[in-house]
Symmetry: D2
Subunit: 495 residues, 4 copies
């Protein structure tokens, strides 16, 4: 889900955070258990890394849809016994959302819900529709009123105006009109529906807990409730979970599978298994491949915590050099802090990371990180490591250079802010201040994934952020559509 | 505006409050001044008595609509300089809302806003549509999605699906389809629109402050900002306020004027002037007429504060008996309080009122109040006055017996809970515990308003709550429409 | 209780409010009932007018003292069933506090509590000690540490360092050392103690509810819980309420009774009975005396609501002129509001009051108010009445000119800000903008209280604010003590 | 600092958290810089691991002491620019506090402040006085009033009642009377004072940033502000930091240095350097020694994250077995969460940890953790690892068995709840469910610290929790003092 309209609330400062691309959403759904909402809250908690700004749950109790949505972390929103007690139902869906500053208005928080002629339907969505603006214009022309600025609402209006006989027919009718990358869960009076787009760009997995069936973005959401993994939902597949168990539908012409390779590099949790592969293993393999491709004489392998750790373990194992926690991360970092004066502003990165001087002083250090986006944090970390006495600093990156924006549900800065868009490797090394810099090659990445190489004619993954090779058309972007015009309303949050 | 769907949040106890009918909304709009939102906030503050649960303001700055809505009093919601600073614009509308327990969800708080093909439009509404359910069913059938459970949203969808060429055409098109009592303000990119229903049941007045034009429910909203009263908007009239001044339209066939007489009795502020008449004067006249109709030998005239005061002053003046504050009202009463044990529960009425013993002890007391709804508070007050030593207690009521529910924008208990529906005068006197009880007669009420008597063939006011003579058809009610089915969603407020 | 240390938090703007002197505290205590805390909360609610900034309750359950204190109104602080449930005990005391800006820190909120060698003791205090600074300096010198900046804490340290054998002995020992005006309640493991200072400047009354005994600042606190008034505590009397009933002690040499006459004029609630006299009657009598003293030809008597109403009723009755609500007060005024721009700043007074034009236009108006302090509000009200069309405006004040500060527990502006300190009657009339201005004479005031005249040799009341005749020595003031130096700590409230 | 009085607020459930001993406080102080409070906030943030419940800062601006204290994390309390702007001063001290449930009342949050005859003094304290109850009883007897239940306040009253001529004399006088383990910082009008107890049980280090001097519990607080480490404060040393630089005093007879060895095992941050030794290195060395002492044939070394990581790296390096993140920690764990029903309660540990199945399935796993307290978490983790398919699970603990409570500023469960108090190694292995269990030996621990062995006659560290050999007398404990009687007051926090 991408919210297409930034509200520009000026007093909340933009933060570069830790300079990563951001997965924008997590989804979860469960059918066939008491405490469906409590299970959903636990599942969303396990998926917190996919969206930290807002969460929502809608449960269905056989008669009514019971909802609660809020801004913040899952463990802040679903904390009260009263709140949980009212989310009655044997089926529920939930959603975590990441959103850039100002878009965190409650009316955009998912799951979205609508009352249709046929009854209620709630929907949660991970991904992004690339022709949402075009569809929205058509719908507004015929008298549809939009309440949110999310692309998810386009699907809701397409369902409302469909002539299909059943909810499922209407949903299929709607999805035939949309382009983009999406995994979605929908809760209706007749069951829980899960869909993965024809290219399977975003993940969706099926699990089981006793008699209940479950859908989730990642398998780690099954582990937390003791559920077992059944299988990945296939690209273009629609599953319906209800009293009859799981029924599979394939209304769309078979697409080419193009799963997002960045899920392995950074987005997914290391303890998840996606598309048949352990994320942790994949990262270690990338680290090993990286060590083979870009060896350097050094004394110690140091991960940039936490995301660089598995690749660094792989790198150290392959290179035979010792792995040490040469940078310590402070896990108490809050999201905001005192506004430092000029004198102390440059201490800011140290709130999160500190050099472990004894592991660094007098040594040739290889820093291993998962990716470089703007390069701002990398630069500060290198400076910190040098100040702690490193004699050489070499940076090794467990992904190819990020040169292009993602339009499939990932928050990327504008192309012009990507370091790799503006500099070659040597230039980047200079900006960051390292003695040497190397990225894994695109073929090296595919090798680490167990393939001989990238099949350029028919790539096995979506790797558009590295290659610019976009598997799904970018209609709105090509139209020059301006999402900032979506709504004329600027509403301040209620006190 | 009536919200037709009670959410039944069980933990907020129903309160009988001070046992009055409740006007459900106030509206305000201003065009042509800087600080339009600040003027609107002051206007809404002066109209706080018409709705205390929630308020909202939408301002238009020439490009965008800037909104803020919240639960609580005006002075709590529009208190922050930041909030006000962002409500930029030379035009604004605002709305106060009264709502019964559980309906105070933000999505129902007005003004409502929508993005249409032609641009944005915000709308605020005082009154109630009596065919809203029927229209809503038709709109849902054609694919319209409702976000709120308010009848106001029906008007918005009628505008969206209208084929009219201009906003005004579409609004007129929409209003031709609705039945009910309403005064409304709408803010568009082309100006501020005000409408009063063809019967003129609810009030709407036009004012002026320098070059700016203003619409408000009552004239007291002009006084607070130093504006001058120009005239009442006429029944069925549409006015457009923009850079060209005020334009008047009369697209509807002329209706029969049936202004709500209860506005004079209780709803309006005593310092307002409605339909050419001072509210305070009207109440005093009713008190005088009441004294003439139902004289009783007594020692002192005591108002039930605060609403009974003007009628009591009139009653005292006419009867020649002394007027005394025999009951003191505590103005610090909050909306909730400690949950008393059985032992102290019966002290509850004393949190608001206390007998002023020295004015009552040993005396024959005439209590003057504006109306009796359920009778619960009256009973407690009479008991309190007797405990303070009154030798006789006579109750005089400045309105006829309230025997029927209102469907035109006033919160009334079910007919079965109205004391006057269940008992004759003598029975009521017994329930309340007074030595004598009298209401003003229906003709006495019309005399106090300066008329010779009620014209039963063509009554000059809407007095349905006293007579059951409803001037506007009650389509939904006759259909047996069940508003509780409007939405399948129950959403808990965000923390 | 006076907090002697202003914390000067600059962002909370000083408010002139409605330009009155301010009683600074209310006290309440009850012994011998279940739900002692709930009764205390109701009593404090009835006494809310004596202090609106903070409240506290301490209950004793036979073993432990259970406390809750907070900032705001009683009905905000003691609202949660959880809070009330934990205030267990058969005895309790409570306190309301008024405080000027910035002093509302929780550590100053009463009742104060301390653990002594003999057990716990909580204390609440209405009044002000005039030698508190001197005593404090002596106590600090011997090693006592003060936590608050209240004079009440001086009493606590005097008790702690006393050699007395019993709590009562120690309290008497402490009170022998203090000078000032005070009524206090203290809760100990051995019972509830009430004290009134030897001059009886501040009120304290004894009541009864079944087997329970009660102490309160005013009788209206008895009415709310259905208790009956027994008697006033006498000047210099100490009462102990425990399982043996009420025991009276008189350890101090008999002083001259000098009850504060301003309690009748403004502080006390009109439905209270103090020192044997109805407050409402006293105010009406003052109004009648005022009418006799300063007659003027006019058309209508208009009170400045709400405090001017009883005197205006008396004035109207005596003068034979009609009493009308020519000014309407908006009871929804919150404590803060939008910060108006220059353009709309002058509307501010209208948030609270509005002229009732029809009662004023073309008339000669007599405005009746209880007192004039700075004169700021009076000026705005006169202007508003003139704008509403009054042909003449005459102001009549139900107290003599306020020319001196109070040091006995009342918040007064510095002498230099008192209008009557700077102008004679004619000058004041000019500032306020009236056609004529008159105050009741000092002897007229005493006559209204039922006395032949003021006994200048031995005045029957404390009237220092009108006469400068202070009945109790002003040690700290004469010492030039600077309360701003009391504590070196400035602590910001916890978020 | 130990708060000796549990308030037993029953609705906040006790949490076993992650079953560790808890360091109870962090202290920080800085003299001689603008923005002293901002530097202190950053320092406290770096020391957040030593206390997460509450924090406070007091700054001195040359005239006044400016304070702010609150409950929660440093980054929540010191977040507002307004708050920081008012903490003006060139010198400041700060304190983080850990507290068991219910004791988090603001009046116990440090730094404590008092106004003395000589001026103001603020004090913050890490450690625990073992004769505080005895001293408190003596002070109360002479009339001292305690506001908190902390032992820190005992020091304050000893200062207040001292006859010493200077602040320093009075502080030395006070400290001569106390027994226990403590490091403290005190802020006075004459400078910043730091003290370490004669045995040097708790850490305190001196640093420098430009002209400013700094005191902190650990060196990581220097790194965050770019300050450099100067030296450890020595046992029994008093340092005064003011305009003249740093002056050292040694008023106490030289004690035997007995630094807390658990600081190396768990309390201190791995990037800190304490008493001349890198904490991270010490942990790695313990892991290596442990591998030598208790080898086991296995396939993989898995740390219990995060505290077991450095020891696991050492263990893996020494044993030659691969180090893998076989357990993944979810860093989004909030402090509270939905109250699960019986059905889902056993998922609770999974909110924090999840097995990384691919690294565990079919393998013989060595789990490395820093310590075992109650054993509750260990048991759940072992079960989780077994469920993920481990064929064998061996637990290795980087400390000796914890058999005794700590009385020197560490939160320990009652002895009876310590697993090692109740079982021998074999019994513990059975309870936890492992195939084998081994702890490092006490001599192995000393070897890892670079010593030949423990000197039983004169041990080089305080290791009382492992050996029961307490270096400082336990007066209050031997007296059977009951801290629950310290205060008779139970106060609920303000809303």
């Amino acid at each position: 889900m991408i919210t297409t309209h930034p509200f520009h609330l000026p007093e909340t400062p933009e933060t570069e955070d830790d300079d990563h691309l951001r997965e924008e959403c997590a989804i979860f759904g469960i059918y066939g258990t008491q405490d469906a909402a409590a299970h959903t809250a636990l599942g969303l908690h396990a998926l917190q890394h996919r969206g930290q700004e807002a969460s929502g749950i809608v449960a269905f109790d056989g008669k009514r849809f019971n909802a609660h949505r809020g801004l913040g972390h899952v463990s802040e929103i679903f904390v009260s016994p009263n709140v949980m007690a009212r989310l009655e139902g044997h089926a529920a869906i939930g959603h975590n959302r990441y959103a850039t500053t100002g878009e965190t208005l409650l009316r955009n928080v998912q799951p979205l819900f609508a009352d249709f002629e046929f009854g209620g339907l709630a929907i949660g969505h991970n991904g992004n529709l690339t022709n949402a603006l075009k569809l929205r214009r058509q719908l507004v022309k015929r008298g549809c009123l939009f309440q949110s600025t999310t692309d998810t609402e386009v699907i809701i209006h397409l369902i409302a105006t469909s002539q299909g006989a059943t909810v499922l027919d209407r949903l299929i009718d709607a999805l035939r009109q949309v382009e983009g990358a999406y995994s979605l869960v929908a809760l209706t009076g007749h069951g829980l529906i899960g869909v993965r787009d024809p290219n399977g760009v975003r993940p969706l997995v099926l699990g089981k807990l006793g008699d209940a069936h479950i859908l989730a973005s990642e398998t780690c959401a099954f582990d937390i409730i003791g559920a077992e993994f059944v299988r990945d939902i296939e690209p273009g597949e629609i599953v319906v979970l209800n009293g009859d168990g799981v029924t599979s539908h394939r209304p769309f012409p078979p697409g080419r599978k193009r799963f997002c390779v960045f899920e392995y590099i950074y987005f997914a949790r290391p303890d998840s298994n996606v598309e048949g592969q352990s994320v942790y293993e994949a990262r270690k393999n990338i680290g090993m491949e990286l060590a083979r491709e870009s060896h350097v004489d050094a004394d110690v392998i140091v991960p940039v915590p936490d995301s660089g750790v598995p690749a660094a373990i792989g790198y150290a194992a392959e290179s035979g050099l010792p792995f040490e926690l040469g940078i310590i991360r402070n896990h108490y970092v809050g999201r905001t802090f005192i506004q430092p004066t000029d004198q102390i502003r440059h201490y800011d990165v140290k709130r999160k990371h500190n050099a472990n001087r004894m592991q660094i002083e007098g040594k040739r250090v290889v820093l291993v990180d998962d990716s470089i986006v703007r390069g701002t944090t990398s630069k500060k970390i290198v400076e910190m490591v040098r100040n702690a006495g490193a004699t050489e600093v070499h940076m090794r990156i467990a992904s190819p250079p990020t040169t292009n924006a993602c339009f499939y549900g990932v928050d990327t800065p504008q192309k012009e802010k990507l370091l790799a868009h503006n500099y070659d490797i040597e230039g980047m090394a200079k900006v960051i201040g390292v003695d040497s810099l190397a990225f894994i090659s695109i073929d090296g990445l595919y090798r680490a994934m167990g393939l001989p190489a990238r099949n350029d004619a028919m790539p096995q993954y979506c790797d558009a952020c590295f290659t610019g090779d976009y598997p799904i058309s970018l209609t709105d972007f090509d139209d020059g559509g301006d999402p900032a015009q979506l709504s004329l309303l600027t509403e301040q949050p209620a006190a």
